[in-house]
């Protein structure tokens, strides 16, 4: 009977995967799966350039982010736990920051007339072009590398560090060689692969900071699909992209399965000896990282109140909060804010429902989902959703679907961590007392993993607030979200409005993340 219940669960989980992920993915890719289409795309010079650019910037961004994040993780173990929490909360904020805000931040800080680039002109290189794309990707992914490595360092037994230190006479190198590298290397490989995946399929960052000369394949998927209506070329480009992403996903999966289980409530051992210069160096590294992660976001806020050349202004906010029709965006600013909040709430609702189901019923199914989603880019899925459901479902539903798909990996991860906390003893006790299926879930699992639900909901909302690519592909103006409007205001060079929209969006996601930062820290 138990087997039957689980079978039914797995069947529904499988059905959800097919309708939400696999069918759209296949449909998104199918038109390009012909030699003619692939040949046509690959013979284009600009596609070859985009391929090489995607590969180069992703390799460099991943290497830099992993190196800096890894060093920051080791530095984190040397400072007080309170200070470490603050840094990790900041890192979470930048990791989860909507891409359009990050792009705005880099422009505000390093771009033409940027706060820092005015003072130090060479920093302009970080505000646009190749440098801008890599800098923004590094910004995004330092937190990822830092947290993956920090999590593995938490698993290092303190006795091991003490033993190596005693037997090596307190020298630094043996500790690094015998402890840090062996423990951290799966995390470093995993974070390199994951960062590479994110950067390779990046859309918003190259679209805005890179410009035509520095476009990724994902940008061309959009270009083919939306501008040229050449669905075959879009799908063929997506197929080429998929091949690289799939290889990186395999590498990531191999490394990830070697990571220790997620640490809950443990603090990392100080793997480096507590000498003064080590501590000073650690603090310097962390201050630099914290500055790199926060300054762009702060610049957005500052610039939202500045009219270029005219000083203080609130004009940007007036435009964002205006109930009147806005030519640049095709609807009113207020409506856009409403859309953004509506999609976020609905995404949380749908993602939590589907996510609980997937997280609860199928370990293997949920894993397959998480892995598949890495290799299939958001635009590929969005194309598929439009192909299959475009004629059946209204755009808002498709947008909620796309946001849900984007949020599911984080939602499932968070819920599964919560379910793990139920523990085998409680699960056994419930089973012998007769609890099964829905009763077991509602009375035991859900209440005991309540805090994971808060975290999952927050993450789903933040993902939805920030989602740009799929929404941009699917939405018509009346369903635009703040992310798209930031881009639209950039397009008409209304910088205060663009920064004001960024600040509003930042306020929404940051307040949610900071509110839950203590719970989220355990999740990271």
């Amino acid at each position: 009977m138990r087997v039957r219940v689980l079978d039914a669960g797995s069947a529904i989980a499988f059905l959800l995967l097919i309708t939400l992920i696999y069918a759209p993915a296949i449909s998104g890719l199918a038109p390009g799966l012909s030699v003619a289409e692939l040949g046509k795309v690959l013979s284009q010079d600009f596609i070859r350039r985009a391929f090489i650019f995607s590969l180069t910037q992703a390799s460099i961004s991943a290497a830099l982010a992993t190196a800096i994040g890894g060093i920051a993780a080791i530095a984190l173990t040397t400072i007080s736990s309170k200070a470490a929490s603050i840094i990790r909360a900041l890192a979470l904020l930048s990791f989860m920051a909507p891409p359009m805000i990050v792009v705005s931040g880099f422009t505000a800080l390093y771009g033409r007339g940027g706060i820092l680039s005015l003072a130090i002109p060479p920093l302009r290189a970080l505000g646009e072009g190749f440098g801008g794309v890599v800098a923004a990707h590094v910004f995004y992914n330092i937190p990822l590398a830092m947290n993956l490595v920090y999590s593995t360092l938490v698993a290092v037994p303190s006795e091991l560090v003490d033993a190596v230190r005693i037997y090596s006479g307190g020298r630094l190198w043996p500790v690094i060689k015998r402890v840090v590298i062996p423990y951290a290397s799966p995390a470093l490989i995993a974070s390199y692969a994951l960062t590479f995946i994110y950067c390779f399929a990046s859309f918003a960052v190259p679209l805005t900071l890179g410009g035509p000369a520095y476009s990724t394949l994902e940008v061309y998927i959009y270009y083919f699909y939306r501008m040229l209506f050449d669905y075959g070329a879009a799908a063929a480009t997506a197929t080429v992209q998929l091949a690289v992403l799939a290889a990186a996903t395999v590498l990531f999966t191999l490394a990830y399965t070697r990571l220790p289980p997620p640490p809950i409530g443990r603090r990392a051992v100080a793997v480096l000896p507590g000498r003064r210069y080590v501590k000073a160096a650690s603090v310097a590294v962390l201050i630099a990282v914290a500055a790199y992660l926060t300054l762009p976001l702060m610049s957005v806020i500052i610039k939202s109140f500045l009219e270029p050349g005219n000083g203080f202004t609130l004009r940007g906010y007036e435009r964002v909060f205006s109930p009147l029709f806005d030519q640049a965006i095709g609807t009113s600013g207020l409506r856009v804010i409403g859309n953004t909040l509506y999609f976020a709430m609905m995404t949380a609702l749908v993602a939590l429902t589907i996510g609980s189901f997937l997280a609860f019923t199928g370990g293997a199914v949920a894993d397959a989902l998480l892995t598949t989603l890495l290799a299939i880019s958001p635009l590929t899925l969005a194309m598929g959703l439009l192909n299959i459901y475009g004629g059946l479902l209204p755009a808002p539903v498709l947008i909620i679907f796309a946001h849900t798909i984007a949020a599911l990996p984080l939602v499932i991860k968070s819920l599964r961590l919560g379910f793990l906390r139920v523990g085998r003893e409680i699960a056994d006790a419930a089973r012998v007392l007769g609890a099964r299926g829905l009763l077991y879930f509602l009375r035991i699992v859900a209440p005991l993993s309540r805090s994971s639900y808060f975290v999952a909901a927050a993450l789903a909302i933040v993902v939805s607030l920030g989602e740009f690519g799929a929404t941009y592909l699917i939405a018509r103006p009346e369903f635009y979200t703040l992310g798209i409007v930031i881009y639209s205001f950039r397009g008409v060079r209304d910088w205060p409005a663009s920064y004001a929209a960024s600040t509003v969006l930042l306020a929404m996601s940051a307040s949610l993340l900071l509110l839950l930062s203590r719970r989220l820290e355990r999740w990271m």
């Binding site: 003893e425 056994d428 419930a430 007392l433 609890a435 099964r436 035991i444």
Partner: protein, 325 residues
């Protein structure tokens, strides 16, 4: 009324490790059977198989003659109490106790009445509104016991339920479990590695060693005259080869087991006292009688009258022949 449990040729493997090997055992209705064995012997696995939390790789589980091997836990009528109370941390004691009734679809009024009844039986009425956090170890284990008993299970499985409690509490709850078993005439299977617990509680004693059932029978005969070497070892008896036995005047064609309490120190000079150790409530005196080492369990008065190096005589007042390995 009690119900009978039977295991027929049960084998359970975890990967390459065989946790239970070809176990056949019939637990009589309304009896309290204790499964005794060292850590890792397979005791808990045995209970989990009866409860339906594990499925045997081979063999069958029968309750009242009905094959339940493929049945899920909740239809077997066998409820398990674990080593740790495993109370649901977000529910009060009363809600914990009522949980199984809720799962069975028992109405609210009846559930409340039954919770009160079982709370009275276990003397925990005053704890009903407390959360697990607010209970002591002993109180929590009583609640866990109540949570199982309220379902009026056909079989109650207890997996070292007292091993995390301190001594006096353990003795108190042990007496309670025995009282309840007699009052309700319930079939209970109780796993422990503690011999005191086993001897006090058991109507029947099953000894498991290395995944095999090596001895089974009523408590007194198993304890006083085991017939397997491994059982005698688990029980801590003296094991003497036929040669060694002969040297203390016992002729047997196989090894024998001599329970330490059947070795009596008497006047004489054939044996040398090699060790004297004080235990709770009794003493251990080890003697060497021409190459044969014997351990005697004696009262404090006897123990205090000898020292290492003294010469004494011994009499063996009971032994069994070990016919099986």
């Amino acid at each position: 009324m009690g119900h009978e449990v039977e295991l027929a040729n049960v084998t359970k493997r975890f990967g390459g490790f065989t946790a239970l090997r070809n176990i056949s055992l019939r637990v009589p209705a309304s009896s309290l059977t204790v499964v005794l064995g060292p850590s890792g012997a397979g005791k808990t696995t045995l209970l989990r198989i009866i409860a339906g939390l594990e499925r045997p790789d081979e063999g069958r589980v029968l309750i009242d003659g009905v094959d339940v091997t493929d049945k899920p836990p909740w239809v077997r009528g066998a409820v398990m109490v674990f080593q740790r109370p495993a109370l649901f941390p977000h529910m009060t004691a009363a809600e914990n106790i009522a949980f199984g009734l809720e799962a069975m679809g028992v109405g609210r009024d009846e559930a409340v009445a039954r919770v009160r009844e079982v709370a009275d039986l276990l003397r925990i009425r005053h704890l009903l509104s407390k959360l697990p956090d607010e209970l002591s170890g002993g109180e929590a284990q009583r609640v866990a016991l109540a949570r199982a008993l309220v379902l009026e299970p056909r079989i109650l499985l207890l997996d070292e339920p007292l091993s995390n409690l301190d001594l006096s509490l353990r003795e108190e709850l042990r007496a309670e479990i025995r009282r309840i078993q007699r009052e309700l005439k319930m079939t209970m299977l109780y796993v422990t590695h503690d011999q005191d617990e086993a001897l006090e509680l058991a109507d029947y004693l099953a000894i498991i060693y290395g995944g095999e059932l090596v001895e089974w029978g009523d408590t007194v005969s198993v304890y006083e005259s085991p017939s397997s070497v491994r059982a005698a070892r688990v029980l801590g008896h003296n094991i003497l080869s036929p040669d060694s036995a002969r040297k203390i005047g016992i002729s047997a064609d196989a090894a024998i087991a001599v329970p330490p309490h059947r070795v009596v120190l008497v006047d004489g000079d054939k044996c040398l006292v090699t060790r004297v150790a004080r235990r709770r409530n009794y003493g251990i005196v080890e003697v060497m009688c021409s190459d044969t080492q014997l351990r005697a369990a004696v009262g404090y008065d006897v123990m205090d009258s000898v020292e290492v190096g003294d010469r004494v005589g011994v009499e063996v007042r009971g032994y069994s022949v070990l016919k099986r390995p």
